[in-house]
């Protein structure tokens, strides 16, 4: 019995917690590849400390790139005064991502310098940096422990942002050991106090490979506000092309 345990643990001992953390992140990224293109709708429910709700609806389309150069278009549907506003992002491996905002009232495209990563995304408890676009090399990692969560075996690991403009010192994640699904994350602010907790649920598998959640709930422990993000209408490989992600297509996005 003792020998069995030894052999199971031995390979793990060969790597440091940092190496193991990085390996988990790298594997997670690989598993996520190959979706080609996708689109979905999003509903963001902003809940203040009294429980009052504000709803924002949007839909997005994205195309996978070959080398971190994914392209994404988000169109806002509500509140009504922001209907038609659209955001185009071109990811780049070797330089900062490019972003353009279309303002329908002015019928004008504005290039934006996207430096303010730690700011809230549209008044929600999510910040810009919580939304994808995060590159593997922007963090260092550390595996903490193995655990069981909702009957699934998970890794608990930490990621430390390298970017000085990040709003976090660390992000603790609970990741499924079998398929790299993330169930939970805790965000620690610059003062190293627990700021927010994200819970991800309602996973559904698409194309027999890609897990997508139906709901993300972010709770801010310092303000007692929370944001529910509900996703739906997932579509994959619907033939989106580069031409669907130009500043021309941004102007006619609906």
């Amino acid at each position: 019995m003792g020998a069995l345990v030894m052999t199971a643990v031995a390979p793990a001992l060969a790597e440091t917690p940092e190496e193991k953390g990085l390996k988990i992140a790298q594997d997670g990224e690989k598993v996520g590849h190959g979706w080609v293109d996708s689109s979905n709708s999003m509903k963001m429910i902003l809940i203040n400390k009294n429980g009052d709700e504000t709803v924002r609806e949007m839909h997005s389309a994205a195309k996978e790139g070959t080398n971190d150069d994914d392209k994404m278009l988000i169109v806002f549907d509500s509140p009504r005064d922001q209907k038609g506003t659209a955001l185009l992002t071109h990811g780049h491996a070797d330089q900062e991502n490019e972003q353009w905002l279309y303002l329908p009232a002015l019928k004008k495209v504005k290039k934006i310098a996207s430096k303010a990563k730690s700011g809230p995304f549209l008044g929600s408890e999510f910040s810009f940096e919580d939304f994808g676009g995060a590159k593997l090399e922007n963090y260092t990692y550390k595996w903490l422990r193995d655990e069981e969560l909702n009957g699934r075996k998970v890794w608990v690991m930490e990621a430390y942002p390298k970017d000085q403009y990040s709003g976090y010192t660390k992000i603790v994640s609970w990741i499924d050991q079998e398929d790299h699904r993330q169930y939970k994350a805790e965000f620690w602010d610059r003062k190293n106090t627990h700021l927010k907790t994200l819970t991800i649920s309602g996973y559904e598998k698409f194309l027999d490979k890609f897990w997508r959640p139906a709901e993300l709930v972010m709770v801010n422990h310092q303000t007692n506000k929370s944001t529910k993000m509900q996703m739906g209408d997932f579509k994959f490989a619907s033939g989106l092309q580069d031409k669907d992600f130009t500043t021309n297509s941004l102007q006619r996005a609906r």
Partner: protein
Amino acid sequence: MFSHYKKITKTSILVLFCVCLTLFVKQVFASEAGEWTSEVGLESTFYAEASDTSDTRSNYSLVMSTEYFEDWNDGADSFTFSPRARLDQHDPERNTFDISELSWVHVEDTWEIRTGVREVSWGVSFMGSVVDVINQTSLAEDLFGAKLGQPMVNLSLVRDWGILDLYVLAGFREASLPGTKSRPGLPFELNTDESQIPLGNQSIYGLDYATRWQHSWESLEWAVSWFHGTNRSPDIDFNYNVIQPGIISTYYQVDQLGIELNYIWNGYNFKYESATVDGAKYRGDDIGIYTAGLLGFEYTWGSAFGSKYDVMWDVSYMHDDRKDSIAAILEKDVFLIGTLNFNDEFDTRLTLGTIQDTHDNEGIFLVNASRRIAESWKLDLSGIFFYVDKIDTSPEVTRQQSQAEFERLLRDYQLFGDSDLEKIIDSLGGLIVDYGVNSPEVAAAIDNLQVIVDNVSLRSDNKLGMLEDESFVRLMLTHYF
């Protein structure tokens, strides 16, 4: 009401043609029902003082706009119809109706074609773009200008070497100006019947042309544009008729070369744009080739002081070669605008700004605050304060002066060109002969002359002079549905 269209029959025929064409295209090809998006707003404006032209201290205006959008063929074809109307309490010139958009867009892999009435925005600046030339401007609608829909065919090529837009613009539209009852208002009404496009300045078949190429390299984005056609900003002048005074606008053919640059560096967004124009005139005189330009940067200070707020700074310098033209109110000015974004669920925003003339002690302060107050209601509060060093250089004209004295007085001040002076003296002289110096007709004409003299004497050194008493606070409540 409907004044923009009534006055230019050619354009209205063309617009009608566009309506029919797009409706036809829509009827034949469209299948699914489209979507309406509308808004209605009440604009309440309050002025600190009465002005030279108006005692009105408050004004209410109702603004409505709607958009119908429908697409088919998987989004490869779309139809947009977007009319806009305004009802004003005081100024009939501000009772307007315009079609901002009525167009059919067809998209292919490497090109798209947009046909119909459209609005096009060029330029990197959000405060007074100098290259933006496709649409005509309505100053009646808005002090800083609102766009009027322009009929066009626009072919847009999307290639590896960038986006190339080719425009054929049909049906020139006149700029509209506020009337005498507006604030700020003009001393006399714009007399559109007297507006003219001088001989040799008519576009062939009434068509104007434009092209714009935009491309980028890493963090640098640029656009080069060219416009050939009827100048969007007219040469505005008095008719120099003291009996029936009016304002006339004259349109000349111009060529404009536009350059736009946008460079993103380390959170800074550097902007440059310039327009070099050939063929424009000022009060009938050729002003040669002139350049207007804008250089500036934007910087967003995210999570200012560790809060969830961010502050966006916009600093720009604007320059315009034209010294005398009223069109160049912002001649050598510095803009400093700060926007505090609350990043809350109500999209609360507060903007403070100043536009300061670098030569003279005059400028504009502006403040704006906006917030969504309910699901589909938004409140917008703004204030604009003008400060000017008004130098009164105008001579006083009185009934006691003889015709020869008038002539000498006006000539000494060099306010008028010879031909304009002739028109004044002729109309006034005739009136004196017909009715006698002490008649009410002559008194009214003298008053008109004084207004012309006062306004013409507003030279480049105090162009904001006419806005001296026009500081206002405006509350705008908008409902979206």
